[in-house]
């Protein structure tokens, strides 16, 4: 299978650098699959589950937050604020964050708080979802 170069960069570290067979990212317009020789494009990433396959390996899952993905001449760059492997996710913390966010949403205080809580909730939910994929 054809491969392409994948760079996944999070704010605090470089998450993955190397060849990749296929990549699925959650974009603003839904889940988006990328394989080798994809058309050049740029899309926004929303918090969710990111999946990539290293040549000859199995699907690797990770929880990511907001950012963008760029495909340019068979080289894919994923820029996201945070990205975590299932085993790195602190389930308790994510659950707590989700509960807190839900409560803030219910309180219906200000628009700003609501939006923040919504973002927080989507991050926490995607973390919890990915953490279930632990091998």
């Amino acid at each position: 299978m054809n491969t392409f170069e994948l760079h996944i960069l999070a704010a605090e570290r470089s998450f993955y650098e190397g060849p990749c067979e296929s990549l699925i990212v959650p974009t603003t317009v839904g889940m988006y699959g990328i394989q080798a020789n994809h058309l050049n494009m740029i899309a926004g990433i929303v918090p969710g589950e990111l999946t990539y396959r290293v040549p000859g390996g199995v699907d690797e899952h990770a929880a990511c937050s907001r950012g963008m993905v760029k495909v340019e001449n068979n080289e894919v760059t994923v820029l996201v604020d945070t990205v975590e492997r299932p085993e790195e996710i602190d389930v308790n913390r994510a659950e707590r964050a989700a509960a807190e966010a839900k409560e803030v949403i219910l309180r219906k205080r200000s628009r700003q708080e609501y939006m923040r809580a919504q973002m927080e909730l989507s991050r926490a939910m995607s973390r919890l979802k990915v953490s279930k994929l632990k091998k």
């Binding site: 605090e12 570290r13 974009t27 058309l39 050049n40 340019e72 820029l79």
Partner: protein
């Protein structure tokens, strides 16, 4: 002249103070190294992000959205009527939590005051206890709910600050955002105070060389779903990166200012100790000399009186 006991006490207190300043010096230096290392970790990401934003802005003429100048062109979120004339400028001022850092806080505050003077309507967002106290004492309008410490900057804190500012900005409550912080540069002289415009973005700030622009024109890229949407998605990340590096730069400058202040304090203490030691020795020597004089004078006096007595006794005999 002071007694030896007084001088001794003085020497002890200076030594104790020196211990504290020395410890503060060491603490500052480790804190600075740590913060710098964390900033270096985030550098590749934000540099890449900036490059992408530049590319996106360059490739499309129509990428006007509300983060950019000319809000009228963008037309994405029309401002409520009446708010256009009244310009409210937000100042994000980054100071330290504590003093004892030379002129660090004063420099930042001076720059902030200079900017404020020219703006009739402003809002202050102050990071750090020192600055908050200063502006509060002068009865200036600072955002009371904006409570962030300048200690150990984290990306999470930068994100929260970004959310607060972009939230107000998109609602039109503030029309401009400036940041006043201390740039670390090479760490000498405790850094320079910098003020720059965070929002709205200025197209001119994202210019690249004509050569690179030509190269970009040749390539074709598809945007999902639109340039504006992608930009909107990444600009908050970029801003939090910018604020984070400003926080770290300021924190490093604060620590380096404190280091040089403490270094000066150490040297002063050293000088003071030298002088006090000299004085102590003087006084001690003086006391010894006096004692010897007293003793010898006493013994001579006794000798004399003894001689006299003997003479008298001889005379009698």
């Amino acid at each position: 002249m002071a007694t030896t006991k007084e001088i001794k006490n003085r020497i002890k207190s200076v030594k104790d103070t020196q211990k504290i300043t020395n410890a503060m010096y060491l603490i500052s230096s480790t804190k600075m190294t740590k913060a710098k290392k964390e900033l270096d970790n985030t550098r590749p990401y934000f540099e890449m992000l900036k490059k992408q934003i530049i590319t996106m802005i360059q490739m499309t003429e129509s990428a006007d959205n509300y983060y950019f100048q000319d809000r009228s062109v963008a037309g994405e979120e029309p401002l409520p009527p009446g708010s256009e004339e009244k310009e409210t400028v937000a100042y994000l001022v980054i100071t330290a939590d504590k003093g004892l850092a030379g002129a660090y806080n004063q420099n930042v505050i001076k720059e902030a005051m200079r900017l404020i003077k020219g703006t009739p309507s402003y809002k202050l967002f102050v990071v750090g206890e020192y600055g908050r106290r200063y502006f509060e004492a002068r009865g200036m309008s600072i955002d009371q709910s904006f409570l962030y410490t300048a200690q150990n900057p984290t990306l999470e804190r930068a994100r929260e600050i970004t959310q607060v500012l972009t939230g107000l900005y998109s609602k039109g409550q503030i029309t401009k955002v400036y940041i006043v912080y201390t740039d670390f540069r090479n760490g000498l002289m405790g850094g320079d105070v910098v003020s720059s415009e965070l929002l709205p973005f200025n197209r001119e700030d994202f210019q690249i060389s004509a050569e690179e622009a030509e190269k970009l024109k040749g390539s074709f890229v598809e945007y999902m779903p639109s340039v504006s949407a992608v930009l909107n998605n990444v600009i908050p990340s970029y801003l939090s990166g910018y604020i984070y590096s400003a926080l770290v730069d300021s924190f490093c400058s604060e620590q380096s200012a404190r280091m040089s202040a403490m270094d000066a304090a150490n040297q002063n203490a050293e000088e003071l100790l030298d002088r006090l030691n000299l004085e102590y020795n003087h006084v001690r020597q003086g006391a010894i000399t006096q004692e010897i004089t007293e003793v010898s004078a006493g013994s001579r006096g006794q000798k004399k009186s003894k001689k006299k007595r003997e003479e008298r006794e001889e005379g009698l005999n």
